[in-house]
């Protein structure tokens, strides 16, 4: 082989191992999920007995009340939890944006809830919300509020799930916005100040508009995580009571491993895949590392 041809092959040698693993571990399973979605295949039975049903699973999905309930829960969860996290995280970042001594230490503390395992988060909050001996009932008892069966009442269980997510992920929004604010060109803020912009005007007219791309990417990343998540809620409530906290990812898991309908579950996962892919494409339109390349 000539040296020139060898040089042309170099990049392929570099990417080949990673590509092979991603094809085997991601692309092929996704393709297989599409194939499985056309079959009726109960868990634990032989593949030979699987029955081709065409688009039947998708029809069943659209008619299923449980699917719509779970989707409703997921959308409500994503909208409420992410809205609270964004408002809280942005507000805190604006209040605390001034670099002060010791901030590094506090930032480390704030990262902890998202570094520990989601199942630990689920465990901790299942314990805190326990109806009989949970500390939360004791705290609200000190305020004169009667104890509640947090994880047994649909509305309260949903609220508990939202609160847990806010605890775990508000620091993420805070850190993202803080990084954005501290990366701002100080001369721009200075110019606005000299032009007579007050504190509020500086925030609304100057700072937030400049870091808008970061805000939108943060928002989309949180929304995607809302659709991806199932481990916290798996441990905390397993979707209950009823379907009150059954996020769609957990619904897919239950369809496969509780209802034992592998093909149907695969069809559900295609729906989830489409939703998440749309949100991911939205991120790409705002922050595309391929386009941001410094050299061409």
């Amino acid at each position: 082989m000539t040296p020139a041809r060898l040089a042309r092959l170099t990049p392929y040698v570099y990417i080949l191992p990673a590509v092979l693993v991603m094809v085997a571990g991601l692309a092929y399973p996704i393709a297989d999920a599409v194939r499985l979605s056309f079959y009726d295949w109960p868990l634990g039975t032989d593949w030979a007995t699987a029955r081709w049903v065409g688009l039947e699973a998708f029809g069943e999905m659209l008619r299923s009340r449980q699917v719509w309930t779970s989707m409703g829960v997921t959308f409500a969860f994503v909208v409420i939890a992410v809205a609270c996290e964004m408002v809280l995280g942005i507000a805190l970042a604006l209040f605390l944006e001034k670099p002060v001594r010791g901030m590094r230490f506090f930032r480390t503390i704030f990262v902890l809830p998202m570094m520990i395992a989601p199942i630990c988060v689920g465990l901790i909050w299942r314990y805190l919300f326990d109806a009989n001996f949970g500390p939360i009932n004791q705290w609200i008892g000190a305020l004169g509020i009667a104890p509640r069966a947090w994880l047994a009442e649909p509305g309260l269980a949903f609220a508990a799930m939202v609160l847990t997510d806010i605890w775990q992920w508000t620091p993420f929004v805070f850190i993202m916005v803080l990084a954005g604010l501290q990366g701002l060109d100080s001369s721009v803020i200075e110019a606005a100040r000299i032009d007579g912009a007050n504190w509020w005007q500086q925030i609304v007219r100057v700072k937030l508009p400049i870091i808008q791309p970061i805000l939108i990417v943060t928002l989309l990343m949180r929304m995607i995580d809302g659709f991806r998540g199932l481990e916290v809620i798996y441990v905390m409530t397993f979707g209950g009571p009823g379907q009150a906290t059954e996020l769609f990812s957990l619904h897919i898991y239950k369809a496969a491993f509780i209802s034992q309908k592998l093909g149907y579950s695969a069809a559900l996962s295609i729906l989830l895949l489409v939703i998440v892919a749309v949100l991911s494409l939205a991120i790409l339109m705002i922050a595309n590392p391929l386009k941001g390349s410094t050299r061409q």
Binding site: I15, A18, L36, F172, G180, E231, V276, A277, L284, P289
Partner: protein, 278 residues
């Protein structure tokens, strides 16, 4: 030049008070898990939470001796370390090619990995369970490693791509002029400069492999189970064995907590990558 030019100034008391309240809000729930793991059943079921009690190691003794958690710990360690090393190796090579070469298929590969970065684990659960069984790697440690490497690669590639893209290419060109082949340039010039990026990537890869529950729960059996998946042993129809499950929870939470304190800077880098220009 005064010292205040180097270190950021002290904030107002109000500033620190707000920071302190937030830090407590983050820490107290986790500290309560640790405290509960040292309590007896009677102390746990007490309707009054107490910070002062006679601690016991019974829960830890029980999960290690009867629960074989030492075996799961070992499985988790093996899987996490293997997944991290392989992901870093493959990810660095792929990111380097994408940042430094213009080749046919670069853009499709880039977009494919960017989209796969957010793939929900629930989508993989059924097909991976089916395929791994067919390939005979279900219930094996390497089967879990494969799916973790695959899940981690897209994020790792893009994180490292950002780092390599910012490296001055002149260094590599100079080395090439001095007669270094492309592979030598990669090993001797690029890799050493990439250490901060590799640190961030390894923490996030290790975190996913160490913390992941659902795929491990599906893909392992009683022997190959990882630490997070073993949690399910302590949740039964009749209730939760709180003391033991909290002891297991503390063991699961420990490595990520240590990492966070050791490498907070790299973690912030990894978290904000993709939205905030490093």
């Amino acid at each position: 030049m005064s010292s205040s030019d180097l270190a950021p100034p002290r904030g107002s008391p109000l500033h620190y008070m707000l920071l302190g309240v937030l830090a407590l809000a983050c820490l107290v729930p986790m500290v309560m898990m640790v405290f509960t793991s040292f309590k007896t059943e009677a102390q746990i079921f007490d309707t009054q939470w107490s910070w002062l009690f006679a601690p016991t190691l019974d829960n830890y003794r029980s999960v290690i001796q009867d629960g074989h958690i030492d075996r799961y710990l070992l499985n988790s360690l093996k899987i996490s370390i293997a997944a991290t090393l392989i992901t870093l190796m493959l990810g660095t090579m792929c990111a380097y090619a994408m940042a430094r070469f213009r080749f046919l298929g670069r853009e499709p590969l880039g977009y494919a990995t960017l989209i796969l970065r957010t793939l929900p684990p629930a989508v993989l659960a059924v097909p991976v369970f089916v395929i791994w069984s067919a390939w005979g790697i279900a219930d094996t440690l390497s089967g879990v490693v494969l799916v973790y490497v695959a899940l981690n690669l897209p994020f790792t590639i893009w994180l490292l791509y950002g780092f390599i893209d910012q490296l001055p290419i002149e260094l590599e060109e100079a080395a090439a002029i001095d007669g270094c082949g492309p592979f030598k340039v990669f090993w001797k010039i690029v890799l050493p400069l990439l250490k901060p990026g590799l640190a961030a990537a390894s923490i996030f890869t290790f975190r996913l492999a160490w913390n992941e529950f659902i795929l491990s729960f599906i893909l392992t059996n009683r022997v190959t189970r990882t630490l997070p998946a073993s949690i399910s042993n302590y949740i039964t129809d009749t209730g939760v064995e709180w003391g033991k499950i909290m002891a297991a929870g503390v063991l699961i939470a420990l490595p990520p907590l240590i990492f966070t304190f050791v490498a907070a800077k790299q973690i912030i880098t990894g978290l904000t990558a993709g939205a905030v220009k490093g």
